[in-house]
Amino acid sequence: MSTSCNLSGSLSWKVAGVLVPGLLLLSALPASADKIQRHFKVDARPVVTVHNPNGTITVRAWTKSEVMLIATRATDQVEVDAEQSGNRVDINTRQVSDSASPESTRADYEISVPEDAELQIHDDSGGVNVSNVLGDMNVETIAADVDMADVAGYLTVKTVGGSFQCARCAGRLEVSSITGNFRLIDLRSTYVRAQTSEGNILFTGQFLPNSTYRLKNYNGVIEVRFSPEDSFDLSATSLKGKVHNEAKLVPPSHHHFLPRFGNGLFGSFNSGRAMVELSSFDGTINILKRN
């Protein structure tokens, strides 16, 4: 851990920027990609922000008290700013020319952070991969897919068209999209809210006791796969679509149609220790046994 008490900018790194004469040579890059590596000493619970319009962002946890950035940029049409302000590291991709093609402005980042880091990531297209980080996360993308594994904290993910996959995520998860599909696998989260307009939502894994799962879409399929050991209260409604159910609910709930609710199911499976709410406007809801 750093012994410094610095709270404001102590390191500033501008690649190919005019502010760092020693690095000016990098501005005369060939058309091929170049790779740069930087290290930032941080204390406990650092904040790392990444803004990258085009390219992949891969974040992994490691045991060092530092943030390491490996940036690969396609050409010198794009600049990478990485600055440290106290316990915060800001990584920002800037396009040098408005007329540059998307291929030439791509920047890919591999970032290693302490496991308790808080992440704020913005990526229009490319992809975001995060693994083993336990701090809070806020991820926003347009077309970029988001893939998380073994993460925790308060996770907020918002995509326009990107898909979202989360395996073994813990903490609290809120994900929303318009056309993105979601795959939620073996979650350890105690609160899950997932909403996509036109995408599919797949949930497979145990419904944890005292946890809440709210899955919603307008069209598409919502599919949850439960095991006989699970215990949950279920509410599943599709106003205009179908509901298929393999869970034996108590009190017995028959597939029925009510004018206000459309097709709906309400009841408890086993002792009802988790709360599962599935709702769709015009989509199909499948509640299936897990193999």
């Binding site: 851990m1 012994t3 410094s4 008490c5 610095n6 709270l7 404001s8 900018g9 102590s10 204390d43 106290g86 316990n87 809070d136 308060y154």
Partner: protein
Amino acid sequence: MARTRRTETGEVPEAVSIRLAQQGDAAAFERLYRLHSRRVYSLCLRMVGNTAEAEDLTQEAFLQLFRKIATFRGESAFSTWLHRLAVNVVLMKLRKKSGKETSLEQVTEPDEESGTPRRDFGAIDLRLSGSLDRVNLQRAVDQLPPGYKAAFILHDVQGYEHNEIAEMLGCSIGNSKSQLHKARMRLRDLLQEVVREKAREERRAAGGSED
């Protein structure tokens, strides 16, 4: 636990207000503001020494807090989190004002780094005893560099513990202790100057020569 810290305002516990604020409840935001604004404002005021600026900084610190309140999960005390934001906001302000980096390590005199007095300790210093009052102390605190000042205000004035301060300042507990120690030593230097000046005035008033 800070010696003057309150945990509740009226009948609504802080934890309840936080939960309601996380749901966007306007009254809960106001309760949290009323509960903590005085201490945050005092911290800002002592750090920048100007009421208008201190109010702006207080507003900014709370704004940052409320923007992020949904992510608060109670791992550290709410006030610790708030003060951490406030300190950050103040230091950013000072940095903008000075046009250079301002960090908690910043000191006015490099040879103070060790925290030991510079003077020959063979000479016996004047005792502060009768000259130390709130007004003199406040004037001296105003002259401290930012890092010392923050540690002193948070620990000796507001009563936070070193582990809390370390979290607020983003540094180690050892650093917090070291900053506080340096702050007290510097204050003693500043206050002794007041004692000497007072002695000089008394001599002038008595018609004696100046030293």
